[in-house]
Amino acid sequence: KRSAFLSAFNSINENFKEIVRELADGEGEIYLDRDDPFSSGLQIRFKPFGKPIQRLESMSGGEKSLLTLAFIFAIQRFKPAPFYAFDEVDMFLDGVNVGRLAKMIRKLSSDAQFIVVSLRKPMLEESDHVVGVTRGGDGESIVTAIQLR
């Protein structure tokens, strides 16, 4: 049990370092704050390129979103799930970071299915297929397919 946890932790940490470099333009890592894994807490350290190391609680909304997503993607590489559903995970991101996230999802979509609700243009443009939802005459939701290309 202990060795299974540590081998999972180490490989997720390797993934996390790689993904943070690409997604959040900085150096990230996860570490355990005690020797015994089963009584420890999992901490996240993040140092954006050109800036000092940051405390997690003083980070901005956009920075926290990117770290959360990097953590999810790091787990995905270790143990892929059959699909991922994200509901407006780009809401705090500026245009540049939405573009970066969209490209990352495009890359990861060769191994897993991503269903992403978004209002942001860079995300729509990067997807394979856009599904539109609107309200019809008596208020019911109607699904239409939007072709961007």
């Binding site: 704050d33 270790f78 799930a81 994200f86 509901d87 897993a112 992403v116």
Partner: protein, 147 residues
């Protein structure tokens, strides 16, 4: 992979069918159009509690004025269906796998075997900073789940 979702009288949907042909699908549309309701329909079908689905009672998921709601998901060769029907005192919940009536724990076992841990592979609206803001102990537990 999810191939298709079919909804009948689920929240704001009367009848709808969404086919997923590719691996990267974006759902878009105006505020209040039903995008989050679609994500809710996936959680509903896989057996989640009403709290997560922005409803006080499970029967609030049934389209206003109707008596029952049904969602069907085709995933990895299986067809999982869940139907709820209003009764005088509450509701009945029915589960089906490939049209055969099953119990909730059958669905739970199937969902587990497909590797569907909705704790981190479904992120609800407004939840994106949740993992950064949870306690370190809770974060460590996620690694324990997947190890």
């Amino acid at each position: 992979m999810i191939k298709r979702i079919k909804l009948r009288n689920f929240k704001s949907f009367k009848r709808a069918e969404i086919e997923f042909r590719d691996n990267f699908t974006v759902i878009t549309g105006p505020n209040g159009s039903g995008k989050s309701n679609l994500i809710d329909s996936i959680l509903f079908c896989l057996g989640t509690s009403s709290k997560v689905l922005r409803a006080e009672r499970l029967t609030d998921l049934i389209r206003d004025g109707r008596g029952e709601a049904e969602v069907t998901i085709e995933i990895d060769g299986y067809e999982i269906k869940r139907r709820i029907r209003k009764t005088e005192r509450g509701y009945y919940s029915y589960y089906y796998i490939n049209d055969k009536s099953v119990s909730y724990s059958d669905v739970e076992r199937l969902v587990e075997s497909l590797g569907l841990n909705t704790d981190y592979n479904i992120v609800m609206q407004g939840d994106v900073t949740r993992i950064a803001e949870m306690t370190p102990i809770q974060r460590r537990k996620i690694i324990e789940d997947v190890a």
